[in-house]
């Protein structure tokens, strides 16, 4: 390997093995963290990234293997222990208290006190303000966390890690909820941290981002370390091929096809925002049968809200929505579904699935009316239909009565897709369907989308990933601040044009991006 060229190793994991009851999460993993560098860790979901970082952060203890910190063998027994040794972690799930304000969150469990009892509130706020300034956050340290957007909450989480002067900072998908502007700020912060000698372990599914920010890269697959390399020696296809193994990732793109008839027509759709203005600002477009219309935009562009309006979730929304020529706007959600509109929500766990129910129960939740005779559910018919759907989607599950939690992220997403398909949709609204699932599963989701479009279903598809939207869409609609700021045919779309349109609704930004 190339250790000597990359620099000094601050933390080294040697032959780490972690066995959970019945499964080997990590097997003999060696992993080096270089001082003052961004050490990227990649792998598909379930490859063991989270387990490895949790071991480094003291959340889990390894079954076997050693951790060597600054040349000294250590045992990290708890998060607190890890923190004391200067290892901080920004978790993928936000660990914030919505009922407390920003400063209180930053100093939670290490409050600045006088005499160990009285919280020095003003000092906390002062220091929090300094941290937020460094992160160019632009919100008040005394703001309630519940009132912040997800992206802003992510910044609070980063501030929290910075507050305890970590030497090694683990960032698990820090950008998944950030807008492009916020990502730029984060990258600047990372550069700044590197300059101060902080070593960063960085996990992300966004490969372009990794290539840009990373110094060294380690690829995990099925609990084993596949390869460690210097970032400047490799490129995105290299990463993908190491991540997925032998199966080569082919570029998926759609053929130009003739489209006939409209699946969905939206006219002047608008959703008023509290305190004036519109979250969804007079949007009109048409979705043809068999068309995949990509919707691109930054966080807070109003894409998810538009979907919610289309489904009839917002009573205060106004406008007109025609589904296959029929005005459906005023009808409630269940009527929308029966008439052929289906939503695959952005947040699988919170909005897509009922954890207490089985795979089959989740899949058929929207379409039980199809399996009913009078008051009775026809068990056999339902079972057969679910079996067929599981096969169609090549869903990997131990059985249709398996608990939903036993499935991997990609397969859970397929359950949500299956639920939508069971309603025989004419228009399918997909909100970030590939978020948080691995490369292999992403490809499968795209295949499913293509297949559905070929059957004449109109698909409205939201994503924040440019490469994805360019590859799969027939047309691309760009939204910014609730308005449509661009509509491109696949032939005319360029990444630059999409990015420019996605920023069109924003006022001139105070902080221009670096580079």
């Amino acid at each position: 390997m190339t250790e000597s060229k990359t620099g000094e190793v601050i933390l080294r994991a040697e032959r780490i093995t972690k066995i959970f009851p019945g499964t080997v999460a990590l097997s003999e993993v060696d992993f080096s963290v270089y001082r003052g560098k961004v050490n990227v860790l990649v792998g598909e979901n379930g490859a063991g990234k989270s387990t490895l970082t949790k071991i480094l952060a003291g959340v889990e203890t390894p079954t076997r293997g050693d951790l060597i910190l600054e040349g000294e063998k250590v045992r990290i027994r708890s998060c607190h222990d890890a923190e004391a040794r200067g290892i901080g972690m920004i978790h993928q799930e936000l660990n914030l208290f919505p009922n407390l304000n920003v400063a209180e969150n930053i100093f939670i469990a290490r409050e600045l006190t006088t005499g160990g009892v009285h919280i020095d509130y003003r000092e906390q706020v002062r220091r929090a303000a300094k941290l937020l300034e460094r992160l160019q956050a632009g919100f008040d340290p005394e703001a309630q966390v519940a009132d912040l957007r997800i992206g802003q909450q992510q910044i609070v989480e980063i501030a929290k890690a910075l507050a305890c002067d970590a030497r090694i900072l683990i960032m698990d998908e820090p950008t998944s909820a950030l807008s492009q502007d916020e990502v730029e700020v984060l990258f600047k912060v990372i550069e700044d941290l590197k300059a101060h000698g902080v070593s960063i372990i960085y996990i992300s599914h966004r490969l372009e981002e990794l290539v840009r920010i990373g110094d060294s890269i380690s690829v995990l697959r099925d609990g084993k370390m596949v390869e460690q390399a210097r970032m400047r020696d490799i490129d995105v296809p290299w990463i993908v091929s190491r991540m997925v193994g032998e199966t080569t990732h082919k570029e998926r793109s759609r053929e130009d096809r003739v489209l006939a008839g409209e699946a969905l027509r939206v006219e002047n759709l608008r959703l008023p925002r509290e305190g004036g203005g519109y979250t969804v600002d007079h949007i009109s477009f048409t979705l043809k049968k068999g068309e995949i219309l990509g919707v691109y935009g930054l966080m807070g562009a109003g894409r998810s809200e538009m979907f919610e309006c289309l489904m009839g979730l917002h009573k205060e929304a106004k406008g007109a929505v025609y589904l296959d020529g029929e005005d459906v706007f005023a009808s409630p959600v269940d009527a929308h579904i029966r008439k052929g509109m289906a939503l695959i929500p952005e947040d699988r766990q919170r909005e897509g699935l009922v954890q207490a129910l089985s795979v089959a129960d989740n899949m058929t939740l929207s379409s039980l009316w199809k399996f009913v005779k009078g008051f009775h559910l026809m068990g056999e018919k339902l079972k057969a239909a679910v079996t067929a759907m599981i096969k169609d989607l090549s869903l990997k599950t131990s059985g249709q009565n398996a608990p939903i939690g036993s499935l991997s992220g990609g397969n859970q997403q397929k359950v949500v897709i299956g639920k939508a398909l069971f309603t025989s949709p004419k228009a399918l609204l997909m909100d970030e369907p590939t978020r948080g699932i691995d490369v292999g599963a992403k490809g499968e989701v795209f295949d499913i989308m293509n297949h559905l479009a070929d059957q004449g279903i109109g698909i409205l598809f939201v994503t924040s990933e440019l490469k994805e939207i360019m590859a799969i869409s027939d047309r691309i609609m760009v939204m910014s601040k609730g308005r449509v700021t661009g509509m491109f045919d696949r032939k005319d779309a360029t990444e630059e044009a999409l990015v420019a349109a996605s920023a069109a609704g924003h006022k001139p930004v105070e902080h221009t991006s670096l580079q």
């Binding site: 499964t23 919170r350 897509g352 129910l357 939740l365 039980l368 559910l377 990997k396 131990s398």
Partner: protein, 351 residues
């Protein structure tokens, strides 16, 4: 990802499965143990007569617990059931004993017995509907809405008779409302009517829970309300239905008690709501919503009922009875948590 699970020793997996099965059947096993213990300690415990008496006791709690299970599965709670039991008894008792007096017309109407029962059931369901409306329309927390209903229904029950008991509810042939005691002490094919009602209600509720869209929707609302909304489940309607059903079940219990006693007392049913919740929880219903079965709840009601009656037969002081019941309920939840942990571990293995 899934390949890593394949090398698990088969034996360990089997052990885990047996362990899980035992845990799932724990309430049933507890019931058998309790029965075995009492039949050993109290000689006439296993006699047919005693069994029938016990089941009749259990039935009252089971009515309430069945309604409560649906409410809890949606993630709610119904504290008003005990008061509705009292109110239902007083409504039925009042209609039988003194009729419906309409002073503006100067008449008193005596309804036929089936009408009296129907009116009582409707009153129960209406109480549930009021709670349901508060919860769905005015977004009052279920705990508060039904706590309010607890006081209102109890107050109403007391108001109906000014706190007095309606005695001797045998009715009058001439008025066409005789036969009320049959509900509590009659029998069909040698089996008491209240046990028949329990059987029918139990089978009906279990069927709804397992085999109808309504049942699925109830579970989905408690499991993840947001996902249920987005899946087209009419969440508010589902909640209305479960609170109304709970009120209806309470009214049934009130009718049966009044009929057994041939009298209606306004304080009937005090603290019954807690017994009903305990039965549901003992039966594996999760207070967080989304989990629970009717079968489990009925077994839970049996555990509580048998425990109470058995201890009475053994001459255990009522103070100790309360302590024992409390311990059993807490132990049930502790074991439940243990099972959850084991289950999530098994789920991890699946990944």
């Amino acid at each position: 990802m899934s390949a890593t699970a394949a090398n698990t020793p088969q034996a360990a997996e089997k052990d885990l499965k047996i362990g899980m099965l035992l845990l799932k059947l724990r309430t049933f096993i507890a019931l058998i143990l309790v029965c075995a213990y009492f039949s050993f300690m109290a000689s006439n415990f296993l006699s047919m007569a005693n069994m029938v008496i016990m089941v009749k006791h259990v039935a009252i709690y089971a009515f309430l617990a069945i309604g409560m299970t649906f409410v809890i599965v949606t993630g709610g709670i119904d504290l008003s059931v005990g008061s509705i039991v009292g109110l239902a008894g007083m409504v039925a008792g009042g209609l039988l004993y003194k009729g419906l007096h309409l002073p503006m017309f100067g008449v008193t109407i005596y309804f036929h017995l089936p009408m009296v029962i129907l009116i009582t059931l409707i009153v129960g369901a209406l109480c549930g509907a009021v709670s349901g409306l508060l919860i769905t329309r005015l977004k009052v927390a279920p705990f508060i809405a039904t706590l309010g209903m607890l006081y209102i229904a109890r107050g109403a029950a007391l108001l109906l008779s000014d706190g007095k008991t309606f005695p001797n509810l045998v009715g009058n042939e001439a008025l066409g409302n005789a036969g009320f005691p049959w509900l509590g002490s009659g029998a069909i094919l040698g089996v008491p009517v209240s046990i028949w009602i329990l059987a029918v209600l139990g089978v009906f509720a279990a069927y709804v829970a397992k085999k109808t869209p309504l049942g699925r929707h109830i579970y989905s609302v408690g499991g993840n309300e947001r996902a249920a909304v987005l899946s087209g489940v009419r969440v508010n309607r589902i909640k209305m239905i479960v609170y109304m059903f709970s009120g209806l079940c309470s009214a049934i219990a009130g009718l049966v008690i009044a009929s057994q006693l041939e009298a209606a007392h306004p304080a009937t049913g005090e603290t019954f709501e807690l017994t009903a919740i305990a039965a549901a929880v003992l039966g594996g219903t999760s207070l967080a919503g989304g989990r629970g079965t009717i079968g489990g709840t009925i077994i839970g009601a049996f555990v509580i009922g048998v425990l109470g009656d058995g201890m009475v037969m053994m001459g255990v002081s009522s103070f100790w009875q309360m302590v024992v019941k409390g311990l059993v309920i807490v132990a049930a939840v502790v074991v439940d948590q243990f099972q959850r942990n084991l289950q999530s571990k098994a789920a991890l293995q699946g990944k």
